[in-house]
Amino acid sequence: MKTENILEVTDLKTYFFRGKKIFKAVDGVSFHIEKGETLCIVGESGSGKSITSLSIMGLIPEPGGRIESGSITFDGKDLTSITKKEMMSIRGNDVSMIFQEPMTSLNPVLTIGFQVMEPLIEHRKWKKKNAKEKAIELLNMVGIARADEIFHSYPHQLSGGMRQRVMIAIAISCDPKLLIADEPTTALDVTIQAQILDLLRTIKDDIDSSILLITHDLGVVAEMASRVIVMYGGQIVEEATVEEIFDFPKHPYTKGLLGSVPKLEEERDRLIQIKGIVPSADKYPKGCRFAPRCKFARSECFDNEIMLRKVNSKHFVRCVLYDDPLVKIKEEKK
């Protein structure tokens, strides 16, 4: 392999147990992130994308949830088998996370400054004075004007966009090797979204880290990703480079997702929608999990579990259509 992988997830299964029911939120997910790469995970709510990221962070909601099997290798260490204490020293230090809701993700009773300094004091054992200098530098870095004033402010005095910048400052305070961003722009205005994405891109290069970006917004994907994973029903249904996903989507679900994005150049009265809803994680269909909603479904789709298939060296899809030479030829003729 040419480049090193900062993260390798192999056959990850994260289940939730509620009474007798088992919710297979993440069910056999494998992927990797190369150093310096931005990988996007796309999917509807309930597809398991957020739980995948929380599994990496070791923050699966307890009690009830746990990693059943699989491994998460970060920087050579398997995060599923290390102690809680070791995990704590990695979390917020080498791997950090930005959440969806900037309005509620900061502690309302602590100053911005303290919240930014906290990881530095915890992981680097810095004195308050040094930590303060660094915190103000970080706030400047994420584009907050009057950083030394904001240092003493409380979260409620800041706008959503500014709070997300503060969250980013907290996440990058210890120069993480991997930055996980779970829908970082979903709760923000469109103009602010673009600014935050810009910021993430610059920051990534500045601190030389990799990004795992969770989103349902294909616009964000096009803007940020080098590779894309599409998740459905706790599984990866397609994995490809960003160009391939947009130009040659293979899985009917991916095609459906792309079809449901409005485009300027096309005249269309109604957007294409994928009929039906995401199956609940405690009762997936036996065969292909997308089959009940799929226009191309045939009997074999409902019988056996479908495996990921290789389209080319960087493109994988979980769909029987691509075993059929006829379909393949038809696709290519188009």
């Binding site: 704590m88 230090n93 996370m97 959440f99 502690n107 309302p108 990881p119 915890e122 992981h123 409620h156």
Partner: protein, 314 residues
Amino acid sequence: MYIFIIRRILSIIPVLFGITVFIFLIMHVIPGDITSILLGTEATPELKEQLKEKLGLNLPLYQQYWNWLLGVLVGDFGESLRTGAPILPEILNRFTLTFELTIFASIIAWVIAIPLGIIAGIHRNTKTDIGLRIVSLMGVSVPNFALATLLILVLSLQFNYFTPVDYVGFFENPLKNMERLFLPALVLGTAMAGSIMRMTRSSILEVLRQDFVRTARAKGIKERAVIFRHAFRNAMIPILTVIGMQIGFLLGGTVIVEQIFSLPGLGQYVLTGITQRDIPVVQGSILFIAVMFVTINLIVDLLYGYLNPRISYK
């Protein structure tokens, strides 16, 4: 901040005025009058009239009220009809004891309830939590008088321990004072602890679900810091409300516990006043208690601002 305090104090005035009117009227509606109590059942109507005139009870109601109010405004709460002793010094004297008892009981309650409430909240729905919830339910539901009597009986019959009878001030003899107050404070404290613990538990549970707790965990800080630095301060706000209410009630005197432990507290004073139709005593005491109650509420409000920076008093 100062403007806020002044505004709050000003807004208290109509409340207190309302209370004085209410108490005054209630006291005059209660059947039975002081003269028969003072003179005995054999007293002649003429004698009663004479006494009424002497005490100013023959005046129209509004005038009686007005005279009393004027006195109160300059700090003269009047004299007890029965003993003739001035009321305010008596109230203040008894209030020292009640105040001390309140503080003592509160500290006992906090020391028991807050840590246990946090533990129950963290270990939600485990055996620990269920056990602690039963204990707190007992704290809330066992009546004061039952627990007090039980304590006295068990200690005296089984362990031959009797609490000292005479009350000495804290600054005269702190040890003896605390020994005297320990049992009543424990009885009051356990009752307080029950509800504080339940509130702490549910408040901590509520806060632990919040996004910022997840953020704190994602920073990789120790779980203890997550609980105390991030969760507890947010959880304090509703707990403080309960504590404020309880202190307010206790400062008003705890009639039953004072009776059982024969403590010369404020509650006892009011009770005697009521049974003897000693109107000025009751009026004065209740007004004093009301002032204490609103003061505690004001302090609680100011503490909110300290705990929660979103509240500002500008």
